[in-house]
């Protein structure tokens, strides 16, 4: 295995505003950019109202994001082939066309500027009042045109950048129409592969069902083989078309803008090529299909269970929605899940009120992991539990991660839990990232003043003489509707300077992997 960590999710300037009334927004999440790696236990801490729960839900697209992107790499784009890809492919020639148009326009303006400049030079030699006025007018006109030309050039490269998301540097090729067709063919094959895969899953469910009943379904077995090879064939074909398209890389380059000849620019465009799934662009049904991969465990397990539905049925519901499993297979899978989360088989027929809080949370976990997800958001999932039960559930989560290769996004306000459970921790305040670091580094050396006061405020189970009043934060968290200007924490910060009141601190990497947003570390 390589040491290179695989990115599972990438957030890019993710923002979420909730409208309060016209023109007034609650800024719940502000410009969060980060990467979550496969198999990681990523912790988010902060006080209530800091936006940690909102962030978790925006990632799962339970709330649509206001701006920014959330890209998922757990499945390849070809595997899912969402509808937005077809649209983007159909748009490829237009991106190129528009970029060309914008650039040509800017060249035209440049010519005009040159012309005006010669007139300007001729003018400046003389010096009557009228001429000074004309001179001034002309230079103003030139400045305006220069600005427009600059903007048009920016527009042109923006078009190319958009196109490069689906085609990489191929967007610069002269034969873009041909490339577009190749991509379309590849997409058609991917869609057929997806269909074959769905057929395969259906047959697999039937085969499994028959197996539980103790007999082999020969028909289903035959279908399995058939659809399996079919899917593989289509996938190979799609790959072939795509490879053919990419064979044009660096050839037939069209000088759309002046940078197009530069191989470094090609590399830059190639890096834009998206292999992940942009969750914000998916249609509701596509998103629903992807929910198998991304699950959530809530704080209050009782609230997410129907009091009149038995535990077994509650878990089977997951299979009803997402799979074609028959009744026998469903039950077998459910019993297996019960065992895996440490519940007894007898509890299949129990009702929620017969279980303790910890057991109910185990049911919540069983439901979340039933479909072998890759990514699980845990929103204060152990906060309502007693310490001894909390420790049991954390242990279970650890085991499941090792068995199934899960990735956790662990939201909590309990710093002790974060320290001992998470690999990396992000501290949030008023929707902003304060500090992000591997958890041992964060707890050894907290840098942000907010992180430090948060640590000081945690009650320790160790006796000290008297209650230590140091590091107590004055005041309360300001409202996210009208957050403070500059650094959001400056109203409570003991190190606040004038600069903090006006300028928002940038996020800096002060040690490898240790990010902090504070002027103290500039």
């Amino acid at each position: 295995m390589s040491d290179q960590k695989q990115v599972l999710l990438e957030l890019n300037k993710l923002k979420k505003y909730f409208p309060v009334r016209k023109g007034v927004n609650l800024k719940a999440v502000e410009d969060i950019s980060l990467k979550i790696y496969e198999g990681e236990k990523f912790g988010v801490v902060g006080e209530s109202g800091c936006g940690k729960s909102t962030l978790g839900r925006v990632i799962l697209q339970l709330y649509p994001q206001t701006s920014g992107a959330c890209v998922y790499y757990g499945k390849s784009l070809e595997e899912v082939s969402p509808a937005y890809v077809a649209k983007e492919i159909a748009h490829l020639t237009q991106y190129q066309q528009k970029a060309k148009e914008f650039y040509q326009k800017s060249l035209e303006i440049d010519r005009k500027i040159a012309e005006l400049n010669t007139r300007l030079d001729a003018l400046s030699a003389q010096g009557t009042d009228r001429e000074v006025k004309a001179h001034w007018k002309l230079s103003k006109e030139i400045a305006e045109l220069e600005y427009r030309s600059h903007e048009l050039r920016k527009d042109a490269s923006r078009q190319l950048r958009e196109g490069s998301r689906t085609a990489g540097s191929l967007i610069l090729c002269e034969n873009i129409a041909e490339i577009q067709q190749l991509f379309q063919k590849a997409l058609e094959c991917s869609l057929k592969a997806r269909e074959a895969q769905e057929q395969y899953d259906r047959s697999d469910a039937r085969y499994g069902e028959a197996l539980v009943e103790g007999q082999a379904d020969a028909q289903a077995e035959k279908e399995l083989e058939e659809y399996g090879t079919q899917a593989a064939q289509y996938r190979a074909e799609a790959r072939k078309w795509r490879e053919q398209a990419f064979s044009f890389r660096g050839k037939n380059i069209q000088m759309i803008t002046e940078r197009c000849g530069d191989p470094e620019y090609w590399d830059k465009l190639d890096r834009n090529y998206e292999t992940g799934i942009n969750l914000g662009k998916l249609s509701p049904s596509e998103l629903r299909a992807l929910r198998r991969d991304m699950q959530m465990i809530f704080q209050d397990p009782a609230a997410s269970l129907d009091p009149r539905q038995s535990i077994g049925k509650a878990i089977e519901e997951v299979f009803d929605i997402h799979t074609d499993y028959g009744p026998q297979l469903k039950k077998e899978k459910t019993l297996e899940l019960l065992d895996r989360v440490g519940l007894k088989a007898e509890q299949y027929d129990s009702y929620p009120h017969q279980l303790s809080g910890g057991q109910k949370q185990r049911v919540g976990i069983a439901r979340a992991i039933a479909l072998n997800p890759k990514f699980v958001v845990l929103d204060e999932s152990v906060s309502a539990l007693d310490v001894s039960v909390q420790a049991q559930i954390l242990q279970l989560l650890d085991e499941l991660r090792d068995q199934q290769g899960l990735t956790y996004f662990f939201i909590t306000h309990n710093l002790g839990v974060v320290k001992h459970f998470c690999d990396r921790v992000m501290v949030m305040y008023l929707g902003n990232l304060c500090e992000l670091s591997p958890s041992h580094a964060l707890f050894d050396k907290p840098l942000h003043p907010y992180t430090r006061s948060l640590f000081d405020a945690v009650p320790r189970p160790a006796v000290r003489d008297g209650l230590d009043a140091s590091g107590v934060l004055e005041g309360e968290v300001p409202s996210a509707v009208n957050p403070p200007k500059g650094c959001p924490f400056h109203t409570r910060c003991p190190h606040c300077t004038d600069r903090c009141k006006t300028e928002k601190p940038a996020i800096r990497e002060v040690a490898p992997g240790h990010l902090v947003a504070c002027h103290l570390y500039d």
Partner: protein, 325 residues
């Protein structure tokens, strides 16, 4: 002792479920002195809250105190009429609950709710009550108190509401303050503010505090003495230092080991195995034995008695008893 504020002796409280009586509190005794904070810890369902409800006489209809005695400043509370109890509640003992919003009336101003008790229990005039209320708001660290008096609960944050509850209780200068998970719903930074405040008020006014919590971190910060409850019985009692530095009962040990500590580096998640028994469950002998790693035949048969091992340090466990013979 003359400075004893609350004396609970051999308290037994039962709940009627499906026409059967189940003991929830099994023979608990404790005392609280002036200027002392007694913390009761335990997992949910261990009887912490039922103890406070028994003391206040606020048990739900299906609950009843079966035997024992509860004395507040030497006065027996059991057997008092509801009217007499109403006089004692508020005046001599104050209560703070977990969620301040459920104890504040959303339709009345803070000022009205603060002065109501002062006028009723202490017979103050409107103006006097107003001045006193403002002075107490200032005491609990609320800026522009006059403004706040006119506001409604929904206009305040959780931390402020809890401060107002504390001001409301303390303004009546009770001898005993019962705080049932008062900081559980608050963020850590606000929690620390409230704990500091309670500590200061206790010293200023020589109040005894019965503090209920499940958070051992909070216990270590605020308690003078600690009682550990398990399934309705007192398993260990001692000074805070004794409990944290020399925990004797296996359950106390397990509880402390299960807290993920921010300061320690070597923490392994070490849960207490098994689940907490429900009150309807019949368990012979020590109620902890099904989850105890040291359980013996004797533990299954015989209920352990609380014995004193150090001055003021009581433990109910056969293993500890045998080791210290």
């Amino acid at each position: 002792m003359s400075d004893t504020v609350l004396e609970v002796k051999n308290l037994v409280t039962t709940f009627r479920i499906n026409k059967k009586e189940y003991p929830v509190i099994r023979d608990i005794s404790f005392e609280i002195h002036e200027n002392e904070t007694l913390c009761m810890v335990g997992e949910s369902g261990c009887g912490k809250s039922v103890t406070t409800l028994s003391v206040m006489g606020l048990l739900p209809e299906n609950g009843a105190v079966r035997s024992g005695s509860i004395k507040l400043c030497g006065e027996e509370l059991l057997g008092m009429s509801p009217r007499q109890l109403g006089q004692v509640r508020g005046k001599k003992m104050g209560m703070i609950f977990q969620e301040p919003m459920t104890s504040l009336n959303p339709l009345l101003t803070i000022g009205y709710q603060l002065t109501e008790g002062l006028r009723q229990h202490l017979g103050m005039s409107k103006a006097e009550a107003h001045a006193t209320a403002v002075s107490y708001l200032e005491k609990v660290g609320i800026a522009n108190a006059e403004e706040r008096m006119k506001q409604y609960p929904f206009q305040l944050s959780g931390g402020l509401r809890q401060r107002i509850m504390i001001a409301m209780m303390m303004s009546l200068q009770p001898r005993l303050l019962i705080a049932d998970e008062p900081t559980t719903a608050l963020d850590v930074t606000i929690q620390k503010q409230v704990l500091l405040l309670l500590n200061r008020l206790k010293q200023d006014m020589k109040t005894g505090i019965l503090f209920i919590t499940h958070d051992l971190g909070v216990v270590a910060q605020i308690a003078d003495r600690v009682i550990v409850l398990y399934s309705g019985s007192k398993v260990e009692e001692g000074a805070t230092r004794q409990i944290f530095e020399n925990p004797l009962h296996p359950y106390t040990n397990g509880l402390i080991a299960a807290v993920p500590n921010v300061d320690s580096d070597e923490f392994e998640i070490r849960p207490i195995p098994g689940t907490f028994p429900s009150i309807t469950e019949e368990i012979g002998g020590c109620r902890f034995h099904p989850r105890c790693p040291y359980a013996t035949e004797r533990c299954r048969q015989e209920v352990p008695q609380a014995l004193e091992y150090e001055p003021g340090h009581f433990v109910a466990c056969h293993k500890v008893e045998e080791e210290n013979k």
